[in-house]
């Protein structure tokens, strides 16, 4: 992957030098080999810090939200899922295409630096790092869907034969079993809101969970408030989640958030589909739940 | 640090008070007069100190006590800006609220004795200063000349009009200057913003203490003007506001640098403010 690193540095140097971008979003090395982390280069001298390795898992498109009100021109390196995040932002009207210079990298699958750090932290009894990060095992599109320049050979999706297997397993449970499963899962939630913060689709200026007039969901970590938080957030994701899996990756108590998101992706596909969020940017296009068609299913009415 | 004198042992649990009177000051400011059930006040305050007012099912908010009338009532002047205050503005006389306090350091009423006082306020900022102004009038012989410069968006938005236009100008050696932001029919007083009006009036700095309160941007401009007019950092006092929840310097959010507005403040001299990060 060193050739990708060199190519990124070459592009970044060119863009920063001729003023085509003010900020270049990529990754840099951390203290350890596996602690690769996001890095924003603003000067040509910073470019040598940029790298791309198998730990470049972070979805940088989420950081574009910090600059949504500004005028800066931004260069950004994105993989398959990340690029879908950019389409999400464009569709949600959060940033203008003209401000972005997108370098797409066909993604060979990533490892999770958070998992590696946790394994080496001494805080867990056994190492749980897998060859590939969990989210990469569900990947349906490793190739960037939007870009100004493309690096890397075309990759094949890594999702197995049965894309929604885990979802189907839960669907096959009885109502009581299902409730118990989710009660166990949500009782762990410490309401740190990290899942919301790292999510590119969560881009409301005032989040519903911060709203006080009225307060829709309380701040207590009671099981009912926790259920409400996750189910309401998931509903807001329906038809919009671009499956980058960052929410589940960063959760400090390992809540299987993608399970819920995948259930909704499966259902949206079934009722309003076929539809995959963020695959192609069509100006003016809206996600299925943001628009009304006459023939929308209504057998639940 | 103040002793917690509220009538309960847990500083986060309020005592219950009764609203004995409500007065409309402006379209969005009401004065609430509260008294302990059965009489008396829930706690004694010094000018500039704060009380946490609780509309129990809705929320709490920290307000300066605009005046304590002996053991008869505490007066809070509260502007309707958000969730809790919206509900608060709908209550009637006889309603019961929670109140806990007193919080904060209050104005340096002792240190200012013998000085001439210049009070500069904007909008609802007059509410905290009013406790100090009335204290000066109550102990008139302890203070020198008193000048009050007060401005608001419009005539309707001027608080405490009866005191502003009738009572205070009658006090000994007292000047009251009022201004509104834009010209209005029926108003033949000064038109303009408070910082500019202050520079126009140009009260002399010698032997004077300037006390400032208002929206943060107004305070910042007034502080600049006072510096231009020759006031030293020790001569200028302000009372700040930040979002507060616990009121007792524990929840962390009202900090300006290492100082908590609810505990070490809200009153700071300009000299103290300059030691702190400008994040308020």
């Amino acid at each position: 992957m060193t050739d990708i690193t060199l190519k990124i540095r070459e592009i970044a140097t060119r863009l920063l030098q001729n003023g085509q971008v003010d900020i270049f979003m990529g990754w840099e090395k951390g203290q350890e080999e596996y602690t690769t982390r996001p890095f924003f280069a603003r000067r040509v001298e910073d470019v040598d810090k940029l790298i791309f390795n198998e730990y470049s898992i972070h979805n940088l498109s989420n950081d574009l939200l910090k600059y949504r009100d500004g005028q800066e021109k931004i260069g950004i390196v994105v993989k398959g899922c990340d690029s879908r995040g950019i389409v999400r932002l464009l569709q949600d009207g959060q940033i203008k295409r003209e401000r972005l210079y997108i370098i797409g990298v066909a993604c060979p699958g990533m490892k999770d630096p958070l998992q590696a750090v946790k394994d080496n932290s001494g805080f867990f009894p056994a190492a749980t790092s897998t060859e590939l990060a969990k989210k990469c095992g569900d990947c349906i599109e490793p190739n960037p869907v939007i870009y100004d320049e493309l690096i890397g050979d075309k990759q094949t999706p890594r999702v197995g034969e049965e894309r929604f297997k885990q979802v189907k397993d839960i669907e096959n449970m009885s109502d009581d079993q299902r409730y118990q499963f989710f009660e166990d899962v949500f009782s762990r939630c410490i309401r740190c809101y990290a899942c919301r913060q790292v999510c590119v689709a969560c881009n409301c200026r005032t989040c519903i969970f911060d709203e006080m007039k009225p307060q829709w969901v309380g701040r207590e970590t009671s099981i009912s408030d926790n259920f409400m938080y996750h189910l309401v957030r998931a509903s807001h994701m329906a038809g919009r989640c671009i499956e980058c899996g960052e929410c589940e990756r960063v959760c400090p108590v390992n809540i299987p958030l993608m399970l819920i998101n995948q259930k909704l992706i499966k259902d949206v596909n079934k009722f309003f589909g076929p539809y995959e969020a963020g695959m192609v940017y069509i100006e003016g296009a809206k996600p299925p739940l943001s628009s009304y068609q006459e023939n929308d299913p209504d057998n639940f009415l | 640090m103040s002793e917690h004198k509220c009538n309960c042992e847990n500083p986060l649990v309020p005592g219950i008070v009764e609203v004995i009177d409500i007065k409309d000051e402006t379209p969005d400011v009401k004065s609430f007069f509260v008294r302990s059930i059965g009489g008396g006040v829930p706690f004694d305050v010094m000018p500039g100190q704060l009380g946490m007012v609780s509309l129990l099912p809705v929320g709490e908010g920290m307000y300066s006590v605009s005046w304590q009338e002996e053991q008869e009532y505490l007066h809070f002047a509260i502007k309707r800006v958000g969730l809790m205050t919206n509900e608060l503005h709908r209550i009637e006389v006889g309603h019961q609220l929670g109140v806990r306090g007193p919080y904060g350091n209050g104005f340096p009423v002792e240190e200012c004795k013998g000085k001439d006082m210049l009070f500069i306020a904007g909008g609802i900022g007059l509410a905290p200063l009013r406790s100090f102004i009335k204290y000066c009038f109550k102990h008139r012989q302890d203070y020198g000349k008193i000048q009050i410069i007060y401005g608001s968006r419009s005539y309707a938005d001027l608080c405490f009009k009866d005191e502003l236009f009738e009572k205070w100008p009658q006090e000994k050696d007292t000047e009251v200057y009022t201004t509104i932001d834009n010209p209005e029919e029926g108003w033949d007083g000064h038109v303009g913003f408070v910082p500019a009006y202050l520079e126009e009036i140009n009260p002399a700095a010698t032997g004077k203490i300037a006390v400032v309160c208002g929206p943060p941007v107004m305070i910042k401009f007034v502080l600049q003007s006072l510096e231009k007019m020759g006031y030293t950092d020790e001569q200028v006092i302000s009372t700040l506001e930040m979002r507060m929840k616990c009121g007792i310097g524990k929840c962390g959010r009202c900090n300006v640098g290492s100082e908590y507005i609810c505990l070490d403040g809200p009153v700071f001299t300009l000299a103290q403010l300059k030691q702190l990060p400008p994040e308020w």
Partner: protein, 340 residues
Amino acid sequence: MQILSKSKIKDALNQLSQNAELFIPLARGEESGFYPWNSYQEGSDRLMLDALNVLLPPKSVVFPQTERMYSFTGNGTAVEIKETFESPQPRIIFGLRGCDAAAIACFDDVFLTMGFVDSFYQARRDNTTIVAHACYQPGDNCFCEAMGINPTEPVNADVIIRDAGDAYIWESKTDKGEKLSAALGSLLENKEAKAPGLQPFKQKANYEGVAEKLKDMFEDPMWEELASTCQTCGICTYVCPSCYCFDIQVKSWGDEGYRFRCYDSCMYSEYTLMAGGHNPRSHEQERFRNRFLHKLQFFSERYGKPLCTGCGRCIVACPVGINIVQIINQVKEADTSVRA
């Protein structure tokens, strides 16, 4: 010298749990934190006493995520405070490391000193006994020593246990500790044992003089760069054993309700948002800077010690790899004479 043989640890925990709720470091499924011993499931839970530490800190024992404060009834003209929920039940935190014990010492400073005493915290803290676990082998991300903490002598402890191979040396330090020793009875043996020596730290943090230096670095351009990748997700504040910012909110229905407090994070955008709309820290960079200044400068100005105890959890949990040790060292090395 008294020792507790490791083969008897479960008996000891059972014994101590008889008269108190005992919290122990456990790995449970994919989580790791401090959980009640009486919820331990043989087979699925793993005791983490001999591990370096656990991800979720023990602060929740004395300062829980959600804590009801008081209930009330009435509307309008007849309001009454019904019940105040102080929680003085006896609790034991068993096996916390020096970094976590020092963090609880910071909590004691915050909640029990400076003008007011937080009664909810006091009720819990006065009835909590701390059995601290001396640490001799720093982990990859540990830097407690740099923050003024001696991992082999945890502060604030009622008992210190030291890993001597197949037993823990049991060192009672206070009356509360003596009560535990008495409760353990014959499970404690009188025997000599040797504690190991302190291994070197891998993280090289240099905090000396940093608090002073930070006083003049509020406007330093380094904050913008450091904060640029921060997601303000708040995970750092939740896994930190010494972060204590809280919110107070209310839950009400009809004429009844209760006020509660819950963890809050200075990283959230509405942390300092005032009702009128003014927000002194509306930008991520401002909140980021405030958090680190609070940890490394403001707290020591106020209480004489930093609010960071070097446990390294934030370094592990941060999704974008922000590292407080790097920040400390960057400040230490910054040439502030140039950046006036």
